[in-house]
């Protein structure tokens, strides 16, 4: 005779079970406890509380934050360098100095010719 009470698992799993063996198991406090513990275990394993990546321990969250900070610094430094080089390039696109000057002697027109 086994005292492992595997008939309790048969009953829990909806499988055919020996009613007399189950009766004997449940007459024993250990057998009753096994049934309740197995139900508690089933409830725990079916609970929708699987650890997700967003629930990492604080130590790993801290390391993640360090990586984010490092990436932000690199992005800022890179952005600064890019802006600096663009400014240098913009300076080279300024118009060339004049090579010829044309002087116009402009006089205001008289009223007779206004119409």
């Amino acid at each position: 005779m086994t005292t492992d009470y595997d008939v309790v698992s048969d009953f829990l799993d909806g499988e055919p079970f020996d009613a007399a063996a189950l009766d004997q198991a449940l007459a024993d406090p250990d057998g009753r406890r096994l049934l309740i513990d197995s139900v508690v275990l089933r409830h725990a394993v079916q609970a929708d509380d699987t650890i997700t990546a967003s629930e990492r321990p604080a130590a790993r969250r801290h390391r993640s934050l360090l990586w984010v900070a490092a990436a932000a610094l690199v992005a800022l430094a890179g952005g600064y360098q890019l802006g600096y080089y663009r400014q240098e390039g913009r300076a080279s696109l300024s118009p060339p100095s004049a090579s010829r000057v044309v002087t116009v002697d402009w006089q205001p027109a008289s009223d007779e010719g206004a119409r």
Binding site: D37, L41, A44, Q46, P57
Partner: protein, 177 residues
């Protein structure tokens, strides 16, 4: 190759059960969704077995076990810190049980763990588990019971605390047809 209609039916029937299985097997919900997609990708590349019912679920979860094993091998090649929250770091009783359960499941023999998860989380019958794990139904019965006893021993304290709370709802096993 599996037809689109067959794949869609399989998806509707088994997607959530696969996600739950992978969630418990890996401890990571995002990974579970990825691995579930991998299962359906592999299904789309193969032909459905001719037999239906128990054999179909067993066949599908055999693919799932292979996907989980491949994932586990990849993780071993790239050792990463355990993402599970240690029980002592858990914020509340529920999280403590979840963390302790994850550790206890990891301590089980791999096949015992798979058999237990396929029964309790994915709701497979013993015949279906036997097909998925290449075991006899009697061997499945023994392994499920052994896994329950081992987990009960490993989780004595959290179970004792959980017994003081209302329990439920609990998904009953599928009715035998």
């Amino acid at each position: 190759m599996t037809s689109g209609a067959d794949a869609a039916s399989l998806f509707a029937l088994y997607h959530d059960r696969l996600v739950r299985y992978f969630s418990r097997a890996t401890g990571e919900r995002e990974v579970a969704r990825d691995l579930t997609q991998e299962v359906f990708l592999r299904v789309s590349r193969t032909a459905l077995p001719a037999a239906q019912g128990n054999q179909l679920a067993g066949w599908l979860f055999k693919i799932a076990r292979n996907v989980a094993l491949d994932h586990h091998r990849q993780r071993r090649r790239r050792p990463e810190a355990d993402l599970a929250v240690a029980p002592e770091q858990a914020a509340d009783g529920g999280q403590q049980m979840a963390a302790a359960l994850a550790q206890a499941l990891a301590a089980l023999n791999g096949l015992d763990r798979d058999v237990f998860l396929l029964r309790e989380v994915s709701g497979l019958s013993r015949e279906e588990i036997a097909i998925a794990c290449d075991l006899t139904p009697d061997a499945v019965r023994s392994r499920i019971h052994r896994a329950r006893l081992e987990l009960r021993a490993l989780l004595a304290s959290p179970i004792e605390m959980a017994r003081r709370q209302p329990i439920g709802p609990v998904r009953p096993p599928k009715p035998r047809l």
